[in-house]
Each structure stands twice: as structure tokens, then as C-alpha cells.
């Protein structure tokens, strides 16, 4: 996908063969900026930018890379699907809360893409079709509930139509989804083929669309189909228990455990409802796994009934019998791992952590969050005790108005959150320098910290930014509160 040796800030195009012609299939941002578009003949592009970098298209390699990307996206949701040639669908139903909401989930996805060196457009929407449309043609990123009119301004191509059909619509002046919807419904299939109406209905949620989920690598799977669709809560639980018990037996015979368990129910209308739980250590304890699922059973909406259920275990690791038996010394740690799993599945794994000190004087960097059940490998550093630290740290520090007798004196009074506080006692300064080896800008940075007590005895951690402002003053901040 990204050939080596191409400068990221130069126009670059990928070229495919179309009959006798070499036609551009993809461009980077700089080429786009120069006016080069996919679909343009290469000769045309060379006329615009003579030295444009060119690479041949490798559709097979692209497809493989897209599948790899989709596999990487399995960390976000149990249901991930490849939508050739350039998209991946991630079903966010029932999993967004693990990331702290849709916004944070998107941020995490974008971070993964950026780390992989990909420029991508991400959108979240109520249907796969709408998400595709918004990510390819829209500006909005998060649409949680939409009316059928929201998509109106988007171009007709946002409906995933073949280029012939889109071209035909375009030629008769139907350029946006809104214009298409204005036509009488019955005439559309006759004039433009039945695909158009189907895609429109899928985008607005009038027709269901099931996405073809990919299977995680090295997964173990069990499924059940029902002659009569099930819909009661007890039935769902019973099915889940049966799948979990069966799969745990499979894992035991293979001497394996898994860290991720996805339970997917398919309803009779073809739509799916998924649950995912994770364990910090590989597990095949059916009671533990069922308990973790138990927290989410009320999120399952059976609709008119559930036809099939499927349980997939992945992130499979070797797990020998001795590791599952709770033995003497490890008992407490094992118990804690069980609790950590329960809490992580409720609040999201990144929200359950332990802390360890970092050797630095910068207060914001002095703490690191670590895996809650990681065995303490190397000896952790010591917590600094030389200077008192506040129990509450404001991130970022809050600016305050300070009056001091002289610019480099401790404050005499300061105003924070609209109230003036008279300083009775001040301790300091403790000078902390910026870490120039972390960020170049910090070379000139220094802060003078004061511990001050107001008339009521409330204690604050104030600092004076060492850099003078243009009008030869110092800026002051409140960084923390002492008990």
C-alpha cells in the first residue's frame, strides 16, 4: 500500500492499466492538491506535474493489506468486515462503552491508523451504508441517530453504486441523494436498476444489511442454530452457557486459554447483536467467562427472535492445567485477576490500573499507569518524598491572578475560580526545570512552585512560569491542592 522510497510531501500517484491506457487509481494529498484525480490518464497527470512519482497498482497486495488492517481492527469490535477496495467496517454496537464512548473509540481507531502510517477518514453512523457515505463524502464524523434526510446533500456516489449506474443518474441531473429521493420510488428500479433503491434503503436503515465479519486468526469457535427462534432472556442465557461450556471443553483438550470472547447473535431479520468480554490472562473457566458476559446480557435486543448464536474465542494462548488451578502462593494474585476482569469489562480495560513512579521532577510525568496484574518484574523506583506533593493535581494547571509584593516574591493573594484568597503562609520556591531532552521547547522552561496556605487553612500548590511575558510580568498557575 505504501511503497518505500516516496517522499511523503511530494505528489505521488498509483497507476493501473485500463485497456491501452494507464489510468490513475489513487493519489496522495499533494497530488490531489495539484489537481490530479483518480480516473485521470497518467499522461494528463504528467502534463500537470511532470515529475510526479508513480507506482503500479497491486490490487492483490492491497486486498491483503486491507484484510490485515481489518484483522488489526478486531481489537475494537467482534464484528469487522472488509469492504473492498478501500474500506473497513467496524460494528460499534455494544462495544463503544469499553472505550468511554463513540468519540473516544474513534480517537483510538485514528491513533491505530496513524501509527500504521495510513491517512484515513473515519465516520460512525447508524448503518454500514451511512458510515460508508459519511466517511467517503461527508464532513461529519459521528452521527448517532439520523433521520432519513441527513444524507440528502451527499453526492449520489455515496450510495456505493457501480460507476455506470452513478454516471447514468448524474447524466439526468440526479446528483445528490436528496434528488434521488425526490423521484417516485416505483420508477427508480425501472429506470436505473434495482441496486439503486436497495443501496438507498440500506443507507437510511430501511433495509437491513449484514456485514461479512472476518474471523480472527487462531480462533476457536462454536455455534448453535435454533429451529424455533429464541427471544426470552432465560433462553439467551441458557444458550450462552451452553456455548461457553462447550468452547471451554474445546480449549481444555487443546490446553489453551483465550483472552477475548465474542458472542454474536443473529436475528431472523439478518441483523446481529454482539457482546465481547476480555480477560487479562488467558482463561477457560466457564464460570468466570459467563459471569463477565452476564453484565451485558440486558444489552441484547432479540427483536423478533434469534436464529443463531456463535461464540468465538481468540487471542488464544497455551494454558496448562497447573496455571488454572489456584495454588497457594498465587491465590491472592489469581483472585485479583478475576476482579480486574470484572471491573475492566464494566469500565474499559484502560480504566483499571495500578500506578508506578517515574524518575522525573515534572509533576505531570511523575506517574505511570501500569497493567493492574502485571508481575512486578524490575524493582520499581521510589516515590519522591523530598518535597510535598498535592493530593489533587489539576491537568492542565489552572491560570490564577496573583498579587505579589515584588515580581519574584511569593504571592500575597490570588484569585481562583472567582474568589480572592489571602495567603497567610507561603513555602518555597521549589524550582523545577523543563526536560529539554523530552521536548525542545522545554529548554527554556522553569517553574517556581510555592505551597501556600490561605486564611481558612486551605493549601494550594501555585507556580510561577519562569518565562516573562511581553509586559515584563510572570504568569501564575494553580497546579494542585494539598489536603
Amino acid at each position: 500500500m505504501k511503497p518505500a522510497g516516496v517522499a511523503p510531501d511530494k505528489p505521488f500517484v498509483i497507476v493501473g492499466q485500463e485497456g491501452q491506457k494507464q489510468v490513475i487509481v489513487a493519489v496522495n494529498r499533494h497530488a490531489q492538491h495539484e489537481g490530479i484525480k483518480p480516473g485521470m490518464p497518467l499522461t494528463h497527470a504528467r502534463a500537470v506535474v511532470p515529475h510526479v512519482a508513480v507506482a503500479p497498482a497491486q490490487p492483490a497486495e492491497d486486498a491483503k493489506a486491507l484484510t490485515r488492517l481489518a484483522t488489526a481492527c478486531l481489537r475494537f469490535s467482534p464484528l469487522v468486515s472488509v469492504s473492498a477496495p478501500d474500506s473497513v467496517w467496524i460494528d460499534a454496537t455494544g462495544v463503544a462503552h469499553l472505550f468511554g464512548g463513540e468519540q473516544q473509540m474513534l480517537t483510538r481507531i485514528e491513533r491505530l491508523l496513524r501509527r500504521s502510517g495510513l491517512t484515513a477518514r473515519v465516520a460512525i453512523a447508524p448503518t454500514p451504508g451511512a458510515a460508508w457515505a459519511w466517511s467517503h463524502y461527508g464532513r461529519a464524523r459521528i452521527i448517532l441517530s439520523h433521520t432519513t434526510d441527513d444524507l440528502d446533500p451527499l453526492p449520489i456516489t455515496a450510495l456505493r453504486l457501480s460507476s455506470d449506474v452513478a454516471h447514468g443518474l448524474w447524466r439526468v441531473g440526479i446528483k445528490s441523494i436528496g434528488a434521488l429521493k425526490a423521484l417516485p420510488r416505483t420508477t427508480i428500479p425501472v429506470r436505473f436498476g434495482k441496486d439503486v433503491l436497495r443501496r438507498l434503503d440500506q443507507a437510511v436503515g430501511r433495509a437491513a444489511e449484514s456485514i461479512d465479519a472476518i474471523l480472527p486468526p487462531r480462533a476457536r469457535r462454536r455455534d448453535l442454530s435454533f429451529a424455533e427462534p429464541i427471544s426470552t432472556a432465560e433462553d439467551i442465557r441458557r444458550v450462552a452457557a451452553s456455548l461457553v461450556n462447550g468452547l471451554c471443553v474445546d480449549l481444555e483438550t487443546q490446553q489453551e486459554g483465550a483472552c477475548k470472547f465474542d458472542l454474536v447473535f443473529t436475528r431472523i431479520d439478518g441483523s446481529t447483536q454482539a457482546m465481547r468480554i476480555g480477560t487479562a490472562r488467558g482463561s477457560r473457566d466457564p464460570r468466570h467467562i459467563l459471569r463477565l458476559f452476564g453484565e451485558h446480557f440486558d444489552t441484547i435486543d432479540p427483536g423478533f427472535g434469534i436464529e443463531t448464536a456463535e461464540l468465538t474465542a481468540w487471542r488464544v494462548t497455551a494454558l496448562f492445567p497447573t496455571q488454572t488451578a489456584a495454588e497457594g502462593g498465587d491465590q491472592a494474585n489469581h483472585d485479583l485477576a478475576v476482579l480486574v476482569d470484572v471491573l475492566a469489562n464494566r469500565t474499559g480495560a484502560q480504566n483499571v490500573y495500578r500506578v508506578e513512579p517515574v524518575a522525573t521532577h515534572i509533576p505531570e510525568r511523575a506517574v505511570r499507569n501500569i497493567d493492574p496484574i502485571a508481575a512486578p518484574t524490575e524493582a520499581p523506583g521510589a516515590w519522591p518524598t523530598a518535597w510535598p506533593r498535592p493530593l489533587h493535581l489539576f491537568a492542565p494547571p489552572e491560570p490564577v491572578e496573583v498579587t505579589a509584593l515584588m515580581p519574584d516574591y511569593p504571592p500575597a493573594q490570588f484569585s481562583w475560580r472567582g474568589r480572592m484568597r489571602k495567603v497567610r503562609i507561603a513555602d518555597g520556591p521549589e524550582r523545577i526545570f523543563g526536560e529539554w531532552w523530552q521536548r525542545a521547547g522545554e529548554a527554556t522552561e522553569s517553574r517556581d512552585y510555592f505551597r501556600v496556605e490561605d486564611e481558612n487553612g486551605e493549601r494550594y500548590w501555585l507556580f510561577r512560569d519562569g518565562r516573562m511575558t511581553a509586559d515584563r510580568n510572570y504568569r501564575w498557575y494553580l497546579h494542585g491542592l494539598f489536603p
Partner: protein
């Protein structure tokens, strides 16, 4: 307090309290497991049946609606949690406490298991889960709204496992008065912690912080109000030297230490 009452009445009262305690324990806690945690300060230990804060139940502390009060109440609970053994589960929402400060309050940050939840409901669920789990001695929750029903749930969870629940009342984000402080909840004790000016004699340097500590309500009837010095690195509160009944020599030493 009981000892101030004339002899016969006092004996009767003490007897009644002993019976009450026996009935309390019949609720589920095995008698041997019901222990107390002394404050090490006679004035603070006196209100409790066995001369110490009862464990295996729910205690609540609040500040005075400001951020400073919340921090003081958190520190008070941290000092109690620090004197118990084992892992401490600390759950709240938003920006949780800053661990480097904890060692000075007697709680080793390495013992903390932190959980950041989204809202009060999740905090309550996490605290309850932690209490029921059984391997933790103590669970601390920062909660804005707590009502009778949810506090009873926490107490039940405590009684089942013997773990202690410490709730710090978080002031509402919009700065309005915390209505929760007037709502009835089922807690063995309810404290209010506010900052108090440190020693008035030492101007050059801030002495050990002082708190106005009020025991607003207690399951055992007695309330009280004290000026205390914030916890030391072992998690023990002290009465300010000049107010405490100590020998003059000790007072001088304490004063020198404060002036440090």
C-alpha cells in the same frame, strides 16, 4: 459520652450497647471477624465500642462543598485505608487522586488498584463488586450522590465479605450545595473534614496541616468535633501539641518539628 453519666445509668447504657453490637453481628459477620481500627488518639477512639473505628462496614466523609474540602476528605479516607492491610481499590470518575502524595498520608501507592468510572452509578457498582470480591480489605469510592438504598447495598456487601467501604462525597461539578449531605444514608459513621489554619505561631513556614474534623453522625450515637493535625506517614492523626494534654517537653519538641 457514656462516662460522664452517673454510675447506674452508665452501666445500663453500656450493657445495652453491648447487646446492640451482638445483634448487629448476628446479621452475618462472623463475630471474630468484626474488628476495629484505632486512631491512636484517645479522643477519637472514645466514641467507638471497642476503642477504634469499626471495620467491615461503611464510613462516609465529606468536605464542605469545595474542592479543598473534597481533597481533605479524600486524604482522611486514604489515611484510614493505608492502615489496613492489602490492596486498596480506589474508584472515582474524572481526574483521580495524585499518587505521589499518598505515601505522606500512610498509603503506599503500590497498594492501589485504581478504577476510573464514567458516572456515580458505575462507581457504586465497582465499589460493590470490590467489596463482594473478598480479597480486598478496603474499597474507597468517590461518589456524588448516595441514597439510602445504595448505601444499604454497600453495607450488605461489607457484611458478607468483612471488607470496609469508605465513601468520599464528591462535590457536584456545578458547584451547587451537595444535597447528599442532608440525605439520610446508612453508614456506620459520617465525617466532615475541613481545612483549618495551621499553627498560628509559625509564620515563616507552613506547619503540619490541620483539619476541623467533625463526626456528624455515628451508628453508636456519639458525635464530636476536633481540631487535628493531618495524618503522618504512618497514617495517624495527631492532636495539635498545644491543645493536647501533653508534657511541656513534648510540646517543645513537637513545635520544633513543625518549624522544621
Amino acid at each position: 459520652m457514656g462516662m460522664e453519666l452517673p454510675g447506674k445509668k452508665a452501666v445500663l447504657l453500656q450493657d445495652l450497647r453491648r447487646q446492640l453490637r451482638a445483634w448487629d453481628r448476628a446479621g452475618g459477620t462472623p463475630a471474630g471477624k468484626h474488628t476495629v481500627l484505632p486512631f491512636g488518639v484517645p479522643a477519637l477512639d472514645a466514641p467507638w465500642p471497642d476503642n477504634g473505628l469499626p471495620l467491615g462496614t461503611l464510613h462516609e466523609a465529606a468536605g464542605d462543598n469545595g474542592p479543598a474540602g473534597f481533597v481533605a476528605a479524600s486524604a482522611f479516607m486514604a489515611s484510614i485505608a493505608g492502615r489496613l492491610k492489602g490492596t486498596v481499590l480506589w474508584c472515582g470518575r474524572g481526574n483521580l487522586l495524585y499518587p505521589p502524595a499518598l505515601a505522606a498520608l500512610g498509603l503506599d501507592p503500590a497498594r492501589l488498584l485504581m478504577v476510573r468510572a464514567r458516572n456515580d452509578k458505575d462507581v457504586l457498582a465497582v465499589v460493590e463488586e470490590g467489596l463482594r470480591h473478598g480479597a480486598l480489605a478496603c474499597v474507597v469510592g468517590e461518589i456524588e450522590r448516595l441514597d439510602l438504598t445504595s448505601s444499604r447495598r454497600l453495607i450488605l456487601a461489607c457484611e458478607k465479605s468483612g471488607a470496609t467501604a469508605l465513601v468520599v462525597r464528591k462535590p457536584p461539578r456545578d458547584g451547587t450545595a451537595n444535597r447528599g449531605v442532608v440525605t439520610a444514608i446508612a453508614a456506620a459513621s459520617r465525617w466532615r473534614v475541613r481545612a483549618a489554619p495551621s499553627s498560628p505561631h509559625v509564620i515563616a513556614s507552613a506547619g503540619r496541616p490541620r483539619w476541623q474534623l467533625d463526626l456528624l453522625r455515628s451508628h453508636y450515637g456519639t458525635t464530636g468535633s476536633w481540631i487535628v493535625e493531618a495524618p503522618d506517614a504512618q497514617g495517624y492523626l495527631h492532636l495539635p501539641a498545644l491543645l493536647a494534654d501533653r508534657s511541656p517537653a513534648e510540646t517543645d519538641e513537637a513545635r520544633r518539628r513543625r518549624a522544621g
